[in-house]
Symmetry: C2
Subunit: 242 residues, 2 copies
DNA sequence: CGCAGCCTTGATCGTTCTCAACTAAGGTGG
DNA sequence: CCACCTTAGTTGAGAACGATCAAGGCTGCG
């Protein structure tokens, strides 16, 4: 909840205040998952709406021959599946990739709450808009960028999103990276081998450095330039730009 | 409007009925565009919400070195940019690729209408959900499918979406194709040359045939099998399956 | 007739994939 | 404490897919 409030605060302090009312609504219950747990299975009925309190999760789709595409990565403060309000069946799976703490509400109860409180609905509408915008940028990333550009671009996105929720400091250039090479590859539409090599290439030209459980961005501006990273799509305040 | 009503009717007759009330709300005005007209420019303020009456449009993002990625194709009955309700600046462009007739409303007026009518809001919420689902499938298509699979998959998506709005009959296997090879390439994350060749390969194995202004699907089931086309993501009634 | 826009084809180049072997780290049981 | 196993990451070599460059064809239109 704290992460979501920070996210909304960056966008609009008024909306952050509204969303705090959720705490008193009593429709959310806390649930915990371990790394590797499946929260939602493809084809399963959609019954709940989730807010991530802490930890990372991935949303992905698997083809019948084993190919997998991770559609997006969900960080603390992210909400899903607001689709449960309209769709009845999940068309993808969600998996915890770190220990995960979430808040969960029945879709019907959440829908009622939105109906009662227009300002709250607007706040969640904004989160859906931002998520969709991130999805669009993922399409551009996978469709029109090279392997190295994809990695650089994704790293910079993670950095911004983590900054906004206060998970890392604005001047901190170390981005936590709980995704394995396989996950990173499935996120970026590459093979594991090529992902390793593209990462290696970025290291070789001195733009990044990998640490035990993260990636350090050494030359933020050069990295942003080579990846043509334009953070407009995140719809964050300009303060976080540059 | 008729196309949108048909779309909603396929999903939920009740919602289709609700959306008809928009006609009486007097907040929409009709606007026409020619092929090539830009409806929304990247970076421009978002002031309107649109519903396509007839014609096709594309939403795309251009990188500074000229690479372009079409994020999605919008058909009659599709709504955009509902983001205008929350975001203030467009992060992509929208262009008419055929003569286009649309209904346009000021974002503020549309927002008021949604507040007044919860059932109407639910109907548009569903359209946003479906659009997001199509975006996710586009990520899978571009990230994890081969050139031929991408074309086959996109064709089958178009066919379904056009069937739902009554633009083509359920048993009709000729899909109109106003996208040029360049547009198709930018949609699928391929080069124009490779798009031509992948199309040629599908023709060669007898799965499709190109006509003057469309593509005829000759073996729907084989095409669906090779592209692993699973229409669940379109959230349409099962009647349209198979 | 000549131009413009779109499509196609050929040839070559390069990025990315696949297959395969090997290394490193962590966990477990004897 | 060590042998063994599993999981994740790396590296090499060769093949395949798709990009790029370049030329030519088709069609509609002024």
């Amino acid at each position: 909840m704290e992460a979501l409030v920070r996210r909304l605060h960056a966008y609009s302090p008024a909306r952050a205040a509204d969303v705090l009312q959720i705490s008193t609504a009593n429709i959310f219950s806390a649930v915990e998952y371990q790394r590797g747990d499946i929260l939602i299975e493809t084809g399963a009925p959609l019954e709940h709406v989730f807010i991530i309190s802490s930890g990372w999760a991935i949303r992905y789709r698997t083809l019948s021959d084993g190919r997998r595409q991770i559609v997006n990565v969900m960080l603390p403060g992210d909400c899903f599946d607001l689709q449960a309000l309209a769709a009845h069946q999940s068309d993808h799976s969600v998996e915890a990739i770190t220990p995960l703490r979430i808040l969960r509400a029945k879709a019907a109860a959440f829908r009622d709450l939105m109906h009662q409180n227009g300002r709250l609905a607007a706040a969640f509408w904004w989160t859906a808009i931002q998520e969709e915008s991130i999805l669009r940028e993922q399409i551009v990333r996978v469709g029109r960028r090279s392997g190295r550009e994809r990695i650089a671009h994704l790293l910079l996105e993670f950095q911004r999103r983590l900054q906004v929720i206060g998970a890392i400091k604005p001047e901190d250039d170390v981005v936590p990276m709980p995704l394995t090479r396989d996950m990173l590859a499935d996120m970026l539409g590459l093979s594991r081998v090529h992902t390793t090599r593209s990462l290696g290439a970025l290291k070789l030209i001195g733009l990044i450095r990998t640490t035990a459980n993260g990636v350090e961005i050494l030359k933020r501006h050069k990295l942003a330039a080579m990846a043509q990273f334009d953070p407009t799509y995140l719809h964050l305040p300009n303060a976080a730009s540059g």
